[in-house]
């Protein structure tokens, strides 16, 4: 029985997680020129979960959305190939903070009226882990973040969350906003026919500036620097010498 008519999954294009991050020489930002980009791994897990809910007959439509410039079409099409039904691109060429993203998504939630919003718990570039929580607060919808498992049943969803030192379960009324952990599932590989089909699907484009949202940020990046290099390793011959060194360093008694 279909419980959720529509699942909305916001996704983000980020640096590929296998690529080594380099900081620009002038310390103004991270250098992303000629860098391989990919879907944020946690976003892909959210899409996979949405597609599985659809395959189980619990949900009937999966809509993916990405905010950014045209380059995000590549990731939107990948997610269509994974099983999403529609893709929305909210076009904007400047980087936005989580709050501005959440405000745009709030407007989209009003427009699309999803029964569930599923998204990654954080992106591996900014590492903020804010968008889901902010969206939930702005829409006044129940929230579960850092979720590794969901069970949907008659208008409610039971979410298992990772917390410090264990897990906890919360029961949310639908619609709700749920942000997912990497451990939730293993995303599938898209099949060739689905990839071909995704190429032909039209991406629905909207302009961020038409949303009536203040897109200015009050955060200013002063400097981006590489992390401090750790000193060269000192190889020791055995346990006794190691414990001696650790003792001298004052980290064990």
């Amino acid at each position: 029985m279909v419980i959720i008519v529509k699942i909305l999954v916001p996704i983000k294009r980020v640096i590929d997680y296998n690529v080594t991050v380099r900081v620009k020489a002038d310390h103004s930002d991270v250098d992303l020129s000629n860098t391989k980009m990919a879907i944020n791994p946690l976003c892909e897990v959210a899409v996979e979960e949405a597609v599985r809910l659809k395959e189980k007959g619990i949900a009937s439509e999966v809509v993916v959305v990405s905010i950014g410039d045209n380059s995000c079409h590549e990731q939107l099409r990948e997610m269509l190939a994974l099983g999403a039904d529609r893709a929305i691109h909210i076009d904007h060429d400047k980087l936005l903070d989580s709050l501005q993203i959440a405000k745009l998504l709030q407007k989209l939630v009003e427009q699309e009226q999803p029964g569930l919003v599923l998204l990654g718990r954080q992106s591996i570039d900014s590492d903020n882990s804010q968008t889901g929580q902010m969206l939930s607060a702005l829409c006044d919808l129940p929230q579960a973040a850092y979720v590794s498992k969901i069970e949907v049943d008659s208008g409610k969803v039971l979410a298992t969350q990772t917390i410090d030192g264990g897990t906890q379960q919360v029961l949310l009324d639908l619609p709700a906003v749920i942000s997912v952990e990497l451990t939730m599932n293993e995303p599938r590989f898209a099949s060739l026919p689905n990839i071909m089909k995704a190429r032909k699907t039209e991406i629905e484009i909207q302009q961020a500036l038409d949303f009536g949202v203040d897109l200015n940020s009050n955060l200013e990046i002063i400097e981006v620097s590489p992390p401090e290099q750790r000193p060269q390793v000192a190889m020791v011959k055995d346990v006794a010498e190691l414990l001696d060194k650790l003792n001298q360093a004052g980290v064990i008694e």
């Binding site: 296998n18 991050v21 900081v23 991270v30 903070d97 989580s98 709050l99 570039d125 590492d127 903020n128 882990s129 804010q130 929580q133 902010m134 939930s136 607060a137 919808l141 129940p142 929230q143 579960a144 973040a145 850092y146 039971l158 990772t162 917390i163 410090d164 264990g166 906890q168 379960q169 919360v170 949310l172 009324d173 709700a176 451990t183 940020s217 009050n218 955060l219 200013e220 002063i222 400097e223 981006v224 620097s225 590489p226 992390p227 750790r230 000193p231 390793v233 000192a234 190889m235 020791v236 011959k237 055995d238 346990v239 006794a240 190691l242 414990l243 650790l246 360093a249 980290v251 064990i252």
Partner: protein, 315 residues
């Protein structure tokens, strides 16, 4: 203006992260000769509030004691903090599960940005935080009227207990509730070992651990008073549950000492440990990437090293 700190506790005592959070708040306050106020919200948690009054530098404790605050549901806690937010220049929480769940909501309700997981305070409006899993360190300045931040506890020293002056407790009567989210149950590891997030020493295992190695590792950890951690490979091997995962996709840690046993040093793992003060690595493969970040290394077989280490620590 005043800095508001949201304290974390289990309704009986303050968590270690809160002491570190309060010292970060004192650093922020010092730049403007501001004061620090700490909010304790929970159920039957007066003891926690009393504990906070003894921390040096804390001016006042706000105590919100109601059944609905017991489980720290983010929908409820964010509204509670939001109701009191207008009197403060900064609101700070630890970047723990609780803080990360509720704090972005406070920021959204106030229509301001959140600065996540700061690791250093430059001034009252400029802060340092890692991005790209610690591969880029950002210094940023906030122009928001109320600055919302979470704090990476491991990057700060613990606040000290004061011998003389005690803060006052003010009971706040806010009665916030939320009907559409229900707390069901929590399942916590029963281990008596310290939390990964705040442990001074972590003994961590990887794929290279011998199949029957865990009992020895547990003994070693207990002799050191250490927490146990693991790489993704060790979890896949079934040595420990995924609650123990250290790295980009698990816990980011910064202990005084990180002992990596049979850990190869994949980027995901290394990203989560490189703020450790000392990293000691033992691996049979001398080319293992873990030696690139380690301070001390032994190239050796864990089958023989683990018993030696356990024995050496007995004395």
């Amino acid at each position: 203006m005043t800095v508001l700190v949201y304290a974390e506790h289990d309704n009986h005592e303050l968590k270690a992260a809160s002491f570190k959070l309060i010292s970060a708040a004192l650093q922020v306050a010092k730049h403007n000769s501001d004061t620090v106020v700490v909010m304790v919200a929970g159920f039957e948690c007066t003891m926690v509030a009393q504990q906070v009054t003894t921390i040096a530098g804390v001016d006042k404790v706000l105590l919100a004691d109601k059944p609905q605050y017991k489980n720290q549901l983010p929908e409820i806690i964010s509204k509670l903090v939001f109701e009191h937010a207008e009197n403060y220049s900064h609101i700070m929480a630890a970047a723990t599960s609780i803080g990360k769940n509720f704090m972005p909501r406070v920021a959204a309700l106030l229509d301001v940005a959140q600065i996540s997981e700061i690791t250093a305070v430059e001034s009252a409006d400029t802060f340092i935080r890692p991005t790209y899993a610690g591969n880029a360190i950002v210094k940023l300045k906030s122009k928001d009227v109320i600055k919302i931040m979470t704090v990476r506890a491991a990057s700060f020293e613990s606040a000290e207990i004061s011998a003389d002056k005690q803060a006052v407790i003010e009971v706040i009567d806010s009665d916030v509730s939320y009907e559409r989210t229900e707390f069901v149950a929590a399942e916590l590891n029963k281990s008596k070992r310290p939390d990964l997030a705040t442990a001074d020493i972590i003994v961590s295992v990887g794929k290279g651990l011998p199949k029957d190695g865990m009992p020895l590792v547990e003994k070693i950890a207990d002799r050191l008073g250490a927490a146990i951690g693991a790489s993704r490979c060790a979890i896949d091997e079934g040595y420990v549950s995924s609650d123990f995962r250290v790295g980009l996709t698990g816990a980011t840690v910064a202990p005084q000492l990180y002992i990596a046993l049979g850990i190869s040093g994949a980027i995901n793992h290394v990203s989560g440990i490189k703020d450790s003060k000392i990293i000691a690595a033992i691996n049979i493969d001398k080319e293992a990437a873990i030696f690139e970040v380690a301070d001390y290394g032994i190239v050796a077989d864990l089958n023989s090293v683990l018993p030696e280490l356990e024995k050496a620590l007995q004395n």
